[in-house]
Symmetry: C2
Subunit: 365 residues, 2 copies
């Protein structure tokens, strides 16, 4: 059992908006930023909540020029009607991602599928949030991005010339199983934050997760310097997909990503976003077996995968759905004591009214 | 050094066409089938060449109704202009896949991207071939399919309710590095053929590749009964992508795939194909760093990934490109003695003129 503080969504969002406004972001950006952090915390995502969002802005965002408050997205004209090309001009990642996914859905309504590729982006935090949102509206949604910095060694290599390049897919399965199936992970075996956590706890890394400063594989988190891709050449290949989509769009060389003071003048240091939506009904061949329709067919397929004694098998997105259920059950976002301390600090920093633990209900889960 | 027989493409294709014609396929299907097998063997793909193609037809194709010679693809009308839905009516997989990829390219020319989703399909052999072909024409190409049978246990499960569901991506990088980068693999750690090979050779499986009849992990290929996905929940998630695209399109329940005599009447037993092309120029934001253009930017990115001492790092598609180089160097497709025996048998079976080793040049490589 852990104790959590129950924070009403409106209270959370007001603080996060204040924090973004204090950093110079527009009202719309602050609202998008808060809305996204609410989405993450609603689903129990602790690694990419408001605390991480403001921390990212501090380290890589408005303070150092990686993100530009009030920037305008430049939507390039083009003759291809199902693909849009945007220059985000380093606008807040959450604002760009929400708008890009909306745009993909509109294109999908007309053409069956739509893509937005985004140059000059900033971090969008948790790709799963955007695809879950789109799946809930009836789309098969996908996003990938290049990570903000290069810390992963390509398969058979020694030097970290790639990022943790994540992929996120979601499918509109909420009517069948109560939540959208969401496949969402980085291509590195573990995140650098996990390495640091294991080092603090004196635990070992799984094999194939990291190398030391000499490029030799290690399971000792204290000696781990760089990450490895999951699944050897397969994870490396998946990470190349993000990097090549970025390269064809306009990103610079990967080793210099996020390193604003390195490399030649004129090189780019920004990440890239890629979004796609497919309208679920656009895929239907209208000939489902045994008299099923698209929804009941998807349900039958999922039931079969989890059947035959596979009762321990989980569906990707299930943990996030369980997070959302707990949020609903307790009537607010759930935060730990350490997270509440971080919110109190956030409130002090942006001059909001003091954040007092005693103002919030506590629950044991 | 191994000895290979050098078989001129036209000689190879004529035999393969004869073999398909003998099995009742149309001239166009036989030509597509042969062209595809040439493509695979050109790239050194030994697992999915003509011998495998005819073997597949024998076991799962025209002999048992899984594939229907002379079938007509039904292209369903629809209002979504960048997505086509096809009922392949179990037509030969190579014919369907070539035509679907051509259709994706045409849609991409007009809309920037195009998708073809295919219900009632048969095996298309090697997804890499189709995406490499499209990449050579300037497209970022992708395909995935559901495998013909369920032999992989989902993560945390005990029963094989899923297939080896492969994914294939290719990028038009031939002008930069001489070949399209092609990321192409199954989502199982190894293929069942590999398990059988290791059993014959008395070798062990890698950990996480297979389970025994009781669903317990094993590295003993003799006890291995079912396969596992690579990368635990990540490979499982990737395989779910194929299965869900299939379910939304019209495929039946996965455990019954390929099992024509099991399950209720009206259930489907066919695999599903998904194809997508994006026109490379449709992604360009026209603002490449340091005065580079799209091509030189992609080149700079690839060079950086392989730089910084990463000289042992390979690019996916490099082995296939080396295969193609050897084919060109020796002026024909390269086959082993065992493969030549299989071709001789194929010639006997279809009543073609005898296939004599002495008619072919030999090389040591």
């Amino acid at each position: 059992m852990n104790t959590y503080f129950v924070v009403p969504q409106s209270t959370h969002n007001q603080l996060v908006e204040n924090a973004y406004r204090h950093r110079g972001y527009t009202a719309q950006e602050a609202s998008d930023g808060a809305r996204f952090c609410e989405l993450a915390s609603t689903h129990g995502i602790r690694t990419h909540n408001a605390i991480k969002a403001i921390h990212l802005d501090e380290l890589f965002g408005s303070k150092v020029g990686g993100c530009k408050p009030g920037a305008t997205i430049e939507k390039l004209p083009g003759r291809f009607k199902a693909v849009q090309r945007w220059n985000a001009n380093r606008k807040l990642g959450q604002s760009v991602a929400f708008e890009a996914m909306d745009c993909c859905m509109k294109m999908a309504d007309e053409y069956g599928a739509g893509i937005v590729t985004v140059d000059n982006a900033f971090h969008y935090l948790w790709g799963g949030g955007y695809v879950i949102n789109a799946a809930k509206k009836g789309y098969i949604a996908y996003t990938c991005c290049t990570a903000g910095t290069s810390e992963v060694v390509p398969f058979m290599g020694k030097h970290p010339t790639m990022g943790t390049n994540p992929h996120s897919w979601a499918f509109p399965t909420q009517d069948q199983i109560g939540f959208p199936i969401c496949i969402d992970w980085a291509t590195s075996t573990v995140a650098m934050g996990r390495v640091q956590q294991l080092a603090r706890e004196g635990k070992q890394l799984p094999p194939g997760a990291a190398v030391d400063a000499e490029g030799q594989p290690t399971t000792d988190p204290a000696r781990a310097k760089w990450l490895l891709f999951f699944g050897q050449h397969k994870g490396y290949g998946l990470a190349l997909v993000n990097e090549l989509l970025a390269a064809f769009t306009g990103s610079g060389i990967p080793f210099l990503r996020g390193k604003w003071n390195e490399g030649p003048a004129g090189e780019k240091h920004t990440p890239h976003f890629f979004f796609q939506c497919i309208k679920a009904e656009a895929l239907s061949c209208d000939n489902f077996p045994c008299g099923r329709n698209q929804k009941t067919n998807v349900q039958a397929v999922i039931k079969d995968i989890l059947g035959h004694g596979n009762d321990k098998v989980m569906l990707p997105g299930q943990l996030e759905a369980e997070g959302a259920r707990l949020t609903q059950q307790h009537g607010g976002l759930l935060f730990t004591k350490a997270e509440m301390d971080a919110f109190a600090e956030m409130a002090r920093e942006c001059g909001a009214s003091p954040w007092k633990e005693s103002d919030f209900k506590q629950v044991s889960i």
